[in-house]
């Protein structure tokens, strides 16, 4: 018995000949925010479906909160909350009725039920619209309602499949504050897929999946170290002497860049404080640039993380343009 809250061992899910999830293994610790990244069709949603008991694995084993996802489905379901990638609301009911339904099937005690529902609806700013039928909500409002619903019963493990797609920055910000606070207060574990890099950065660890296979799993910083070192831009009052000192003291090669120097170090965060204290040449300015998760993603999957969406936008523009010129 291990204390990992999610354990995945050699998990495989096949659709006919296609291995949507192809022999992946990983573990997640309690309270961890785990980012699951990958291009479209990589197998992220399929993995979540298996972990939340909606789909059966072809082979392999997975446990959530210590319960087997095939043989102890009831216990697994009791432990989790979900925000699905695709819509999952009852559009004919009101927002309030959707949440009440959820509260009842998740057996939230009557004493706190209405208070929790109001709190969540206030958080996503839908309290004023609570009596309206969901089909009259805008796309972003529906998404917010789904988030409110997923968080309503304070699950031990929260699966968020692209939770904030299409939401405005303020809403995303507020929802993230809530999730981080929830983790702080209750030790909630968060399993997240996203195409937003700033969200992925919030993860404690990130797994990158491509064509059903895990290609990397590490902390965001660790992943960035994979692709390259941190870049430091330095301006001093004597660049020549600074270059020599860098070479002599730290065995670092630097090159001239405009009126300053540029060099690479493995871990700029740790290097810079010491460097600034002990460096002999007078420093005018120093700037640290770190490789981004975008570059990591690009290098590991050969695709830009936003590429799909960008091409979709382009396609849409071409289509519109075509329509207009044809007329």
């Amino acid at each position: 018995m291990s204390k990992d809250i999610i354990q995945v061992e050699n998990l495989v899910k096949k659709f006919g000949a296609l291995a949507a999830v192809d022999d992946i293994s990983f573990t997640i610790a309690p309270g961890e925010i785990f980012g699951f990244l990958g291009p479209n069709g990589a197998g992220k949603t399929t993995t979540i479906n298996i972990l939340c008991t909606l789909a059966r694995p072809t082979s392999g084993k997975a446990t959530v909160n210590g319960f087997d996802v095939v043989h102890q489905q009831g216990m697994v379901r009791q432990s989790i909350g979900l925000v699905f990638q695709d819509p999952s609301l009852d559009e004919r009911l009101s927002g309030l009725q959707n949440l009440r339904f959820h509260a009842l099937v998740y057996n939230i005690p009557r004493s706190v039920r209405e208070k929790r529902i109001e709190e969540m609806l206030q958080m996503v700013e839908l309290w004023d619209k609570r009596h309206n039928e969901v089909r009259t909500y805008s796309g972003g409002m529906k998404r917010r309602l789904e988030l409110a619903r997923g968080l309503l019963h304070s699950p031990k493990v929260l699966f968020l499949d692209e939770p904030t797609l299409g939401l405005d920055p303020q809403t995303r910000q507020r929802i993230w504050e809530y999730i981080l606070d929830l983790r702080q207060r209750k030790g909630t574990t968060v399993f997240l897929t996203t195409h937003y890099m700033d969200e992925a950065e919030k993860a404690d660890r990130i797994a990158i999946i491509d064509h059903g296979k895990l290609v990397a799993i590490d902390t965001p910083a660790g992943l960035k170290r994979l692709v390259g070192k941190d870049i430091v831009s330095l301006k001093t009052d004597d660049n020549v002497r600074a270059g020599e000192e860098l070479k002599g003291r730290y065995q670092i090669e630097s090159r001239r860049d405009g009126d300053g120097l540029v060099f690479e170090v493995a871990s700029g965060e740790e290097f810079l404080p010491i460097f600034i204290k002990e460096f002999g040449t007078r420093i005018l300015s120093v700037n640290l640039r770190r490789p981004s998760l975008d570059t990591v993603f690009l290098k590991l999957t050969g695709r830009d993380i936003r590429e799909e969406e960008v091409t979709d936008v382009l396609k849409a523009m071409v289509r519109q343009h075509g329509r207009r010129t044809r007329r």
Binding site: C52, T53, L54, A55, R56, G74, R77, Q78, I80, L82, F84, D86, P87, S88, L89, D90, E91, R92, L93, Q97, F101, H102, L104, V105, Y106, N107, E133, R149
Partner: protein, 262 residues
């Protein structure tokens, strides 16, 4: 206790949706009335009396009530296909209530809606000349509920196996119309050709319609409307027994099938 709450919640949602949908409420009553008045007034005079003091409209009325209940409850399975299409089924399937609970809640939800529709249709009895006492209504309610629960379970069984809306509707109609026409809704089940007689006897709906008619028209034993099986005239309770047996099998199959879908 948790399961009861689950059943209640699923059931309650179906009723809420029905309540929101006033059109469905109106149309569910209009359709059977159409049958009753078009067929009834067209044929009543010509057919004369079918039993002691019972004309064709009066004979048909309990059948129409049964048909309303049967069609509405069977069709309620469509809500599962619908929920799958619109994604809400996922919310239900990952909830910590057992699948058997969900199927049961669905069956009772569909059955209750059908019961309401059947009861609303009862209000037209004075127009047909069928007198209903409060006692009769009290006896009719459980009979309608039994038929409705059995048929709703059958609808759910179907919906767990058929993914597309179009296919569900096609298969449903393929089953529903023969079941309705061969159950004694529109004609007494006596003096039929052998093949038709056979079909009416194996049709479970027959045993749901017969008790409703018996209670409503107060038929005596040996009446021309009773179901005769192997030369034996089925009593009220025997009919109820067959219907309950069929309903129980359907409900268990629906629960099983709902639990074993992906």
């Amino acid at each position: 206790m948790k399961n009861l709450l689950g059943i209640y919640t699923i059931w309650y949602r179906d009723l809420l949706r029905f309540w929101h949908d006033k059109m469905r409420m109106v149309s569910s009553v209009v359709f059977p009335l159409l049958f009753l008045f078009v067929f009834g007034s067209g044929l009543s005079a010509r057919m004369g009396l079918l039993g002691p003091g019972i004309n064709f409209s009066q004979f048909m009325f309990p059948g129409i009530i049964g048909m309303t209940v049967l069609m509405s409850s069977f069709a309620s399975g469509v809500s599962i296909v619908w929920d799958r299409e619109f994604g809400f089924l996922k919310e239900v399937l990952v909830a910590p209530v057992s699948r058997a609970t969900v199927a049961t809640g669905k069956a009772f939800g569909g059955a209750t809606v059908a019961l309401i529709q059947g009861t609303l249709t009862l209000a037209f009895s004075p127009l047909i000349g069928v007198s209903l006492t409060p006692l009769k209504i009290l006896q009719l309610l459980p009979l309608m509920l039994l038929l409705a629960t059995a048929m709703a379970s059958m609808g759910i069984l179907l919906a767990t196996r058929i993914r597309s809306m179009e296919a569900f509707q096609a298969v449903m109609q393929m089953l529903m119309f023969p079941m309705t026409f061969l159950s004694g809704v529109f004609f007494p089940l006596q003096g039929l050709p052998a093949w038709m007689d056979f079909l009416t006897k194996i049709n479970p709906a027959t045993y749901g319609i017969a008790p409703i008619r018996e209670v409503m028209l107060g038929t005596l034993p040996g009446s021309p409307f009773a179901v005769t099986l192997f030369g034996h005239v089925m009593t009220l309770w025997e009919n109820i027994g067959v219907m309950a047996g069929f309903g129980a099998i359907m409900l268990v199959l629906a629960m099983w099938s709902f639990s074993h879908q992906e």
